[in-house]
Symmetry: D2
């Protein structure tokens, strides 16, 4: 299903080579002034064709707001945004040869032969453009509640950026990342990562990476035990982002070698607020925020589209075949995924805030 | 929220020290014969008090089926199961001292001072008992569709079990795990793990671990892109299991250092079916099953309850304090979590099967 | 599906002749003191076997609260209530002969031959007992927000009670109805109605009726346009009550002969509040409350169980047959339905209040 | 909330005087050929400005399909349709004077002063245009399952059309109604109704009516007891249609004066199928279809916009005021509502069919 959310409902639509991609965002509070220039900048951060490490398919990615916005403010009714597809070249796509690592085969198994296979159709990374639009709106709304979301590239191949300090990370550090074309904390590592991406591109190959995302300013008490846990909500959203294949909160898989003494975040009082000395649990206990930063990592697999010859099957003839995937592709999508993950996280935070009555207290 | 699912709806209730814990399972197909003895065995696998590496709180964990079951078969209407709490000792719990690593503080922030704090209340690991009951039912239903789910302890502290072979894992191997009190593939590693757990217990400490879970027999074409992806559904369920803090599918975080050439699972035909040579993508492309085994790992943090002195706050006086958590606790919950994860995975698989019309094709 | 609600989630379970019937109520705010005696009285109002105009099947209908209630208050976590079935006689029910007007045939078509047909199974009016329990809780919670719900029997056969004055109806009038065994505004009409019911019973027949329900104290601004309209929510709940086959809000079907001039409720100011002179629209404009009383009527069809010979089919032999429905039945269920409708309405009102952030403002 | 559905999810957006209105339809099966000309005709049936008894605001109501449609067939992914607003005149609308019978006041109470009040904004009857588009698609999809939906005007003011015969109504009769500009069974009554509408228009007034809708071809066994009942689903959708204030199934409010003997629809076998002699229960027992035609009536209140002087309040100054509603309005909307009700009913039928696995059996 293409809908998500408790208090906000998101409905996403479109195909890579269809008329348009878009999103309907229901449940946004009314009366929030939106900075359209800022939304445009967010769209540009994700947009393709901007540099040598992204796909040369250039798309303006201009969002046309169709509803829910009047006199510079949200109206409270559904906010619909649409992005026309302007630069599509469909000749590269052969229906019968399913591309390894892509959803071509599963798309046909799910939807039958009427599935729009061109450029990945509805499975295309292009569908993250409306998600970034929705997230850009959400970032502005949660800002009104004092919440800031930011993400950086933690790893590309062998190169690791400095990780967030889960206790000290603050809004200013996160906002700095918004300005960067290639968001890392340590620019020297960033240079090495970019050289690695170029190297992979030159070898007709691609490379994966890890994005780290942090949220500061979330009040304690949001979320729920079990199915409505903060981790459940964030992860259900993150695994909606194409290419994400793993997520860990706080110490994550490192918990496997920690003892309870190390892993428990002990409490103390500071300025009348309850804080924890460490933040291995990522600001979440029992599925509910405790007021410390929410920090998680998501792994992004290498771009599936590579120009090398690969073994596949011809699903019409039902026999083995070979394929070389042409077209215009990213040798790495981790840096673009970071923008999407940041945006998608803002949507989850907004849903959590509204679900716990934040609208009333604004 | 305590409800989950598209075609099956699960509603879980209860507190650790209340009258009962239970679950309502709506959407189970009618006419499925249930083996009640098998369900009892599943309950026993999770039940506390069975050995030296689990909590000595002994509970029969006998499920009373209240509805949805008639003449040995499911009726198709909601199946409700209830487990009475019989062995509760509430004297250990002090309302005002919130236990580090637990949901005491967040519970009070979410629900206010009327929250039932005794033994973790609704946040207690005890709530996984009804989940195992529901999963035991689901395991029998999905078996009718040819689907098998199994899990083992991949890691405790420094000790690693052999991992599943993501291509070769089969139903027989998974069913073998169901019979083991301490589910590992390599019993010698299992012995070391158990000694490590005892060692931590003796030091009034606890230890974390990783559970690996596999599903075989899922037909291709189940799931959806975006919010209904197989990964989104599994993860939203897994993060409902207390103490799970990370999940990765297939190569998971390893994708960060892989190239596209390595990561893509190339296709081939075998006996008229589409297969992949490797299975780094865990049987899932674009959120939809491709017919290969679904394999994932979930990390389980060390038990938060430890008898050592810890720093905390007194939330009534709003000042720093110290706490020693007494009561009867597990020095490691990974082996019990493995049973819960297996059960919970069966519920997700059932929902996926039914959501794609499996009921009609049975 | 047996779940309902946006902010509160209700999950209902049970069969007439199974072990128990019950309900899980998720989303109830924490810290609400519940008057258990009052809940008991509400259960008694619906309970069978109390007088000559109801079924002689006597059930204590004692609710056992399993969770979500601690130290006299709600905890905020799921509130589960269970009622054991104690007085069941299953011998009257013949699986193969489907009773006209009942769900026997459709139950078998929906669930197959494993459906629990005894006493209507899951379709039984007995399932309204947990609904009344949930509604009794909801009535106490909405009372804390100043909201009162009440219902009376508007019509039985040819006899009409006085209708509510949609502008003047107040909390006191509604609370008076709670005390009445046979809730009508005009007791003389009530007597005639009861004589009519006895007359039908003596003729081995049954009779239908209309229930009118009113809600006062709802603040303006609750609800939503389209699918979340107050009318959509109330009606989706009311048609969950067995035997309800129609609903009209305010002037209802009378609107067909009204002009716009007559139908529009003109506004005026009174004591700083916006009021309407008339209330043909039942306190709802565009799906959203306007602060005036919410008033609606629901029609309840005559009890389907009658002891006269009726034509039916034998669904095993697939041929025409005859049936006389024995057992212990109500000659009219309108008066018991009034209690259910009142309770169910309180649940909808609570969901509306919470969906619009009422929890925060209490 | 502006989303609806179990298996299909509908998300509606737009305002009367904004850029566009539209809808996202998720869950439509793939591979269904759509007759776009037929969809165009359906849009024309609802479109304004076609004759003297409708508003002179002429809108082409051309739907631009943005996604989910490829090579003449549905793809199975979300189908988005958008209709640009081309003929808007906003000068007539005064923000501070709330129009009686409209949602202006409740819109401001719900969404605050940022609500788009122009032409009713999101509450406008114009939002039914995307609903008719979605319904036109649904009509074609359910036709593939042998299901036909049709509606006629049963009543305008004092004039009654012939009612459907709930047992005999068939697909041919329903399809005939699709061709009529003013859908009635008896054209002479239709003439009188139209003269009555003109008479009300000339008096600067408006008039209400009743629409009767029937569905034939629904297989038995669809729907569910309680919250998923066929009646709950239809009614939750119908009360989303602006101006609908009541609904009754089959004998409806007439059940109040019927006995069980009269009301029960006795069964018999015909050509190997179970049928009922009468159809007072509208083809629904216990919330589930029994295979007989589904028949219901919905009342449509008179257009709220009338050019006569009415009493209202100025919500900025919070004092009594007067208003004359100018602009271009329908003196009766029942005939346009009939098209919307027919379309919306097709959406519910499609959801019911898919929810019960119909996709698999096609």
């Amino acid at each position: 299903m293409n809908t998500w959310g408790e208090k906000i409902k998101i409905s996403i639509f479109g195909e890579s080579h269809g008329a348009a991609v878009g999103i309907v965002l229901d449940g946004i509070p009314s009366g929030v002034e939106l900075d359209l220039e800022e939304i445009k900048r967010e769209m540009q951060r994700r947009a393709p064709g901007r540099n040598s490490i992204s796909t040369p398919r250039a798309e303006a990615d201009e969002v046309k707001i169709l509803s829910g916005f009047f006199d510079g403010k949200t109206t409270g009714t559904p906010l619909a945004g649409m992005i026309l597809n302007t630069n599509t070249i469909s000749k590269h796509y052969q229906k019968e040869l399913v591309r390894p690592g892509h959803a071509d085969y599963t798309g046909f198994m799910r939807y039958g032969m009427s599935h729009d296979y061109r450029g990945g159709g509805h499975f295309s990374g292009r569908l993250t453009a409306p998600l970034v639009f929705a997230g850009a709106v959400a970032k502005q709304v949660v800002a009104a509640y004092g919440v800031t979301v930011g993400a950086h590239i933690l790893r590309i191949g062998e190169f690791w950026d400095t990780a967030f300090d889960a206790v000290q990370v603050d809004a200013e550090q996160l906002r700095t990342l918004w300005q960067k074309e290639f968001p890392v904390l340590d620019w020297q590592t960033g240079d090495k990562m970019q050289r690695e991406i170029v190297r992979q591109r030159d070898q007709l190959n691609s490379i994966g990476g890890i994005v780290e995302c942090a949220v500061v300013g979330m009040p304690p008490g949001l979320g729920a035990p079990f199915f409505g846990s903060v981790e459940s909500r964030i992860s259900s959203m993150m695994f909606s982002v194409p290419a994400v294949k793993g997520i860990e909160f706080g110490a994550g898989f490192g918990f496997a070698e920690m003892t309870g003494k190390e892993a428990n975040d002990e409490f103390y009082m500071k300025d009348g607020c309850v804080k924890t000395y460490t933040n291995h649990n990522a600001g979440i206990n029992g599925g509910i925020t405790n007021g410390m930063p929410v920090v998680f990592k998501a792994v992004v697999k290498p771009t599936a589209s590579i120009a090398q010859k690969q073994r596949t099957v011809d699903i019409e003839k039902m026999k083995d075949a070979e394929i070389e995937v042409h077209g215009r592709h990213d040798p790495c999508i981790t840096h673009r995924a970071a923008v999407v993950i940041e945006a998608a996280t803002a949507l989850v935070m907004l849903d959590l805030l509204l679900d716990n009555g934040a609208e009333g207290i604004r």
